[in-house]
């Protein structure tokens, strides 16, 4: 909407692209907002709308062509890749190189390793992949998964959930909720899945695109990812500026939290790879094979399904 106002003559020459977020704006989306704000999209001949979708709605919107790109996660998009409900989508860029998610708990209650979850209240989304991953790490740590008290996750505010002891342990992305704990000066214990089992170092979040769009208009896809990658590179270099731009786009966010999160993420956008967004087939397949082996995907997901590095800037 706002874009249509900036000069009609230009707008006509620009290619319209729509990006759906995973839900509400946060620091994972910084690169998009920087590219938008600094005109990288326009330079690439694009006019981009950034849209907030219904919860869990991005993948289908991208599949149906209502949006060209969207935000997704390697774990939750698994059911969209195979079987009756397969959607024509492909992951085209990893936003963050490593999986920074893990389980956080109040400090000193013994949940610094997975075994400590025994007898504790864990807020679950009741997702089979989620539960299998926890089972894997708990058992690897010599614990008994069945002893964890599972309660339904209704958590909107992780800090207060822990503070009020309504929950003992929560699955979070450290770059947002973890940083928020620090900001609120709540001492916590945290373990990260990727550290416990390398298979769990999958890509989360990722950018996805519709297959038809990729086939028919690869140039636009490349142009878009080129501009976005510049955005994320900027974010990596200058967290303060990134925080400011994000807060401008999403004023409801807490500025302190955004800045802290931005600083935490700065070296993680492009950690250890030359090109932002690159997805290592070994890690991608590794996680899906683990799903296959544990019977979490029906049918099994074939090698090299659902991602492509072809549209990243070279």
């Amino acid at each position: 909407k706002q874009e249509t106002q900036t000069g009609n003559t230009e707008a006509e020459n620009l290619k319209k692209v729509t990006f759906v977020l995973d839900w509400t704006p946060n620091t994972n989306h910084t690169g998009l907002y920087i590219a938008q704000e600094k005109g990288y999209f326009k330079d690439a001949g694009l006019s981009v709308d950034i849209v907030q979708p219904p919860e869990d709605g991005a993948a289908v919107l991208v599949a149906s062509g209502k949006a060209e790109f969207g935000m997704a996660f390697q774990d939750t998009m698994a059911p969209a890749l195979v079987g009756d409900n397969a959607l024509p989508i492909t992951a085209v860029a990893a936003v963050i190189q490593h999986n920074t998610s893990g389980i956080i708990s109040r400090k000193g209650e013994g949940m610094d390793t997975p075994k400590g979850l025994e007898g504790k209240k864990y807020a679950t989304w009741d997702n089979p992949v989620e539960k299998a991953m926890i089972k894997d790490v708990v058992e690897a740590d010599g614990g008994d998964f069945s002893k964890i008290e599972m309660i339904p996750s209704t958590v909107t505010d992780e800090v207060s959930a822990l503070k009020t002891k309504s929950v003992d342990a929560i699955w979070i992305f450290y770059g947002w909720a973890g940083v928020k704990m620090e900001e609120e000066k709540l001492d916590t214990d945290y373990f990260q899945f990727a550290d416990l089992n390398p298979v769990f170092d999958y890509y989360t979040p990722v950018m996805i695109a519709g297959n038809d769009f990729l086939k028919n208009d690869p140039e636009t896809a490349r142009a878009f990812l080129g501009a976005v990658s510049k955005g994320y590179e900027d974010a990596a270099k200058n967290p303060e500026e990134a925080a400011e731009i994000l807060c401008k786009a999403a004023p409801e966010l807490d500025k302190g939290l955004v800045l802290a999160s931005q600083k935490y993420l700065a070296d993680k956008y492009q950690a250890g790879v030359d090109v932002w967004g690159y997805m290592d087939p070994k890690r991608w397949n590794g996680f899906y094979n683990w799903l296959n082996d544990n019977g979490l995907s029906n049918p099994a997901i074939p090698e090299n399904t659902g991602f492509s590095n072809d549209y990243l800037p070279q």
């Binding site: 869990d56 993948a59 289908v60 599949a63 149906s64 939750t76 059911p79 969209a80 009756d84 409900n85 959607l87 009741d126 997702n127 309660i151 339904p152 996750s153 209704t154 909107t156 505010d157 207060s160 309504s166």
Partner: protein
């Protein structure tokens, strides 16, 4: 006799309308105009309904339990509010705007707060259902109580009747019609309310099932749940109609 055969033709008409829509829908899907992940065909939805039947029943039971509990409490609350507002005029003036206010608050928006306050067990769900169901009942009953013919009250007073007798012999039966038409609305709110409240989280119920199949991109199952919810609502409404006929035989003549 004439009435009966007429109601049968009515049913034929509406069935054929529904059937027509279904055929159109199947046609669109079969012709491949719309892809399956945009709109599952009625056939695949039917299949999902059958294969998922045990799971749906399981979850449906939980939802129905919540809906009934909420509806029951909502009706009780609505009844008391109506009686109190009818009886104490001062309270009426004080409570009425507050009640209207509660109804302009989007309950769905309240949902996350309710979980925060009351935990994730039944309580917040039932509160949400009560909040949506008590209102039609209270308003319906109240207007029923107040639309009573004042001459009927005079008649009973002339026979030396007190407030309790007036309530029992005039206000209560006089408000029955309004009560049942409100109950009909409340009953259908109760089911939808239960489903929404389950989005708040929990381990069972059609709302939970719905979020799960959504995450699994299983739109046929999603439609199956939606249809099941519709059917439950319709059955509940029919149930209320039946009850109202039983309770108000004088309407039948």
């Amino acid at each position: 006799m004439i009435r009966k055969s007429q109601s049968i033709t009515n049913k034929l008409w509406s069935c054929s309308a529904v059937l027509g829509l279904l055929l159109l829908w199947q046609g669109i899907c079969s012709a491949g105009i719309i892809e399956a992940y945009l709109l599952p065909s009625p056939a695949s939805v039917g299949r999902a309904l059958i294969t998922e039947f045990p799971a749906l029943m399981e979850h449906g039971k939980i939802t129905l339990k919540e809906a009934f509990a909420g509806l029951f409490l909502g009706v009780v609350l609505g009844f008391f509010i109506a009686v109190i507002m009818d009886h104490f005029h001062g309270l009426y003036r004080a409570i009425y705007p507050v009640i209207i206010l509660t109804q302009t608050i989007p309950t769905v928006a309240l949902a996350p707060l309710l979980v925060l306050w009351f935990g994730y067990e039944m309580t917040p769900k039932i509160i949400l259902i009560v909040l949506t169901t008590f209102f039609p009942v209270a308003i319906g009953l109240l207007s029923g109580f107040q639309s009573v013919d004042p001459d009927e009250v005079t008649l009973l007073r002339s026979m030396g009747a007190g407030n309790v007798s007036i309530f029992r012999y005039i206000k209560l039966p006089g408000a029955m019609g309004q009560f049942f038409s409100s109950l009909r609305i409340s009953a259908s709110y109760a089911v939808v309310g239960a489903v929404i409240s389950e989005w708040l989280g929990g381990f069972g119920g059609l709302g939970v099932y719905m979020t799960r199949v959504k995450k699994a991109f299983a739109f046929d199952k999603m439609f199956a749940v939606i249809i099941l919810i519709s059917v439950i609502s319709l059955l509940l409404m029919k149930g209320v109609d039946y009850l109202s006929k039983k309770c108000m035989p004088w309407e039948e003549i």
